[in-house]
């Protein structure tokens, strides 16, 4: 017998929340991006948990796709971070306020 799915779901939700909080409070683009990865992991954990409770492989398959997306995002995202860093020599998003209003 396994622990109830609820535990994992709460764990995932908390992880999601930590990721979101990190995204909102960290100023480094890289770390914000890592927080997005945390959030995606929370999603994955949720998917897997539901897959177990529903006895459905679909949830696990979905995780597969989320991972692909995460990989693709990282590729592009880090490219952008690097591009921005090249220009501004900083990854702090707080310095990106040229456009507002």
């Amino acid at each position: 017998m396994n622990v109830p799915a609820a535990w994992y779901l709460v764990l995932a939700a908390v992880l999601f929340g930590i990721g979101a909080y990190g995204l909102l409070t960290r100023r480094s683009a890289l770390i914000m991006f890592m927080c997005v990865e945390l959030m995606l992991n929370a999603v994955n954990l949720t998917f897997v948990t539901f897959a177990r409770t529903l006895s459905d492989i679909g949830g696990q398959a979905s995780v597969f796709f989320v991972m692909v997306v995460a990989a693709a995002e990282v590729t592009v995202g880090l490219g952008i971070v690097v591009a921005v860093f090249r220009r501004r020599h900083s990854t702090s998003v707080d310095e990106l306020t040229e456009m507002k209003g």
Partner: protein
């Protein structure tokens, strides 16, 4: 356990394959070619793909009209009128954008096939979204669309704003994506599937006594979509990104993203989660009001036309949301009509802005337009028509777009909502007209130079204006098409 590959109805997949194929072809070509690919060649490939998609759309339409809506590839893809119209809209917007990009690329010294390839691939993402019948596919389409645009936003190395836009768009976009996919996960948990048909079937055959999980999932999905369509309060990326991105790319954002995201939103909300409509509607109600009003009011304070258009497009998104709010066939048809006609108009608008923006893509202060309509009556006049269409003046297609969603809203008993939306349009009229006023104003003494109108961009503008005027005078066919398309999607 033998593996049975699901049957594939290739007609349904043809548009995506065509567009994505074109992207691959271009990539390969540019990789093989010793020198950067000539822009004309890229343009030719994109246009050929778009034309092909339009033809395919025609074939698909007649197929759907004869056989009704079908799904294929294990029900992950749907071939219905709604998808066909969305496909056509995306192809049209892509073709027009490509025309603009062609001229812009030459001036901005952005050579090579990268921009067309990314544009094609993004559009493929949008196509995935409009015909997706599975939340995972929607998500993948969304990501494909977005990733391409993240890069495109930052493609202009000559302006700092471009990279800022790219990073902002990217960070916020991936945040929204994470929210969206979390929503997918919760909906999956609530319904046991990510397939829209299965979800609809599950919700249709079971009474969900404890809908909390479903609600949570739906809320997260809504926020994800809300971000993509720039609904208030999830809109804040859009003015900055619109302003910073290269102008032709902004045109794509305003057109293709809206088509993809709205059609997917309608499909998810109306067809899959339709039974829970009463739950979503208050949220959408608030979203519509906030989006309409904030878009209109903030537009008033803008001196940069790209930001102005960003707020304009937020305001327009509010109207498109109206159709979603109704949750009815008429509303879906209204939203469909809206995005279908808005897309070419907004691309053409940004085409004009691209031209006026000049070589560095920097002259976007509204004062830069002073006397344009007097100096260059055709270009200025075209812009005026495009703005009037977005404003919703009669005899432009924008009027009927607004009319379509409003009548649907009133059918669903949303009198107050319709009134608020229309009043926001009246506020928005103020900033459109201020722009128009600048256009027709007397020239200043220094006499700005003429804006050159290259042929391809000119063609794009012309098409946009033609859509605005022709369907403004004679909206019947498009209206009937949109209505029919919706009937073919919602039985």
């Amino acid at each position: 356990m033998s593996l049975t590959i699901p049957s594939i109805h290739y007609l349904a997949l043809l548009p995506v394959l065509t567009i994505f194929g074109a992207a691959v072809v271009l990539t390969v070509l540019s990789a093989l070619a010793r020198r950067p690919l000539r822009p004309a060649a890229s343009l030719a490939v994109v246009l050929a793909a778009c034309v092909a998609v339009l033809v395919e759309g025609f074939v698909q339409w007649s197929y759907v009209a004869d056989h009704g809506a079908t799904t294929t590839v294990a029900h992950a893809v749907v071939l219905d009128g709604f998808a066909v119209v969305g496909t056509v809209a995306v192809a049209l917007a892509l073709a027009l954008s490509a025309l603009v990009v062609y001229d812009w690329g030459e001036r901005a010294r952005v050579f090579g096939a990268e921009v067309p390839v990314l544009a094609l691939a993004s559009s493929a993402g949008a196509l995935l979204m409009v015909q997706a019948n599975d939340l995972i596919v929607v998500f993948l389409g969304l990501e494909t669309l977005s990733l391409g645009l993240y890069v495109l936003a930052g493609v202009d190395r000559h302006r700092t704003g471009s990279s800022e836009a790219a990073l902002k768009y990217f960070l916020l976009g991936s945040f929204a994506s994470a929210i969206f996919i979390y929503g997918v996960a919760l909906v999956y948990g609530a319904t046991g599937s990510t397939n829209l048909s299965s979800i609809a079937y599950f919700l249709g055959t079971n009474v969900v006594l404890r809908p909390g999980l479903l609600y949570a999932g739906g809320a997260l999905l809504l926020v994800g979509f809300g971000f993509k369509v720039a609904a208030v309060p999830f809109h804040q990326w859009s003015p900055d990104v619109y302003q910073g991105s290269p102008t032709p790319v902004t045109g794509m954002m305003a057109s293709i993203v809206k088509v993809g995201a709205f059609l997917a939103l309608v499909r998810v909300l109306v067809s899959a989660l339709g039974t829970q409509l009463d739950t979503w509607r208050p949220i959408l109600y608030a979203l519509v009001i906030a989006t309409c009003v904030v878009g209109a009011v903030l537009g008033l304070a803008q001196r940069d036309v790209k930001r102005l258009l960003a707020y304009s497009s937020i305001n327009q998104a509010g109207f498109m949301l109206l159709g979603v709010w109704t949750g009815s066939a008429a509303g879906a048809a209204g939203t469909l009509f809206y995005v279908l006609t808005y897309a070419p108009v907004v691309v053409a608008t940004f085409a004009v802005v691209t031209l006026v923006g000049g070589v560095g893509d920097t002259r976007h202060a509204i004062d830069g337009y002073r006397g344009l309509a007097r100096r260059q009556p055709w270009l200025g006049g075209a812009l005026v028509v495009l703005l009037l269409s977005q404003l919703g003046a009669p005899l432009t297609v924008g009027f009927y777009a607004k009319y379509a969603v409003l009548s649907a809203t009133l059918r669903s008993g949303g009198g107050a909502l319709a009134l608020v939306a229309l009043l926001s349009a009246a506020i928005a009229a103020a900033f459109y007209l201020r722009w128009v006023m600048v256009l027709v104003a007397e020239e200043t003494e220094d006499g700005a130079e003429r804006v050159a109108v290259p042929r391809a961009t000119g063609l794009a503008i012309l098409v946009g204006v033609a859509v605005a005027v022709v369907f403004g005078v004679w909206p019947g066919p498009v209206a009937a098409w949109a209505q029919h398309a919706t009937l073919l999607f919602l039985p």
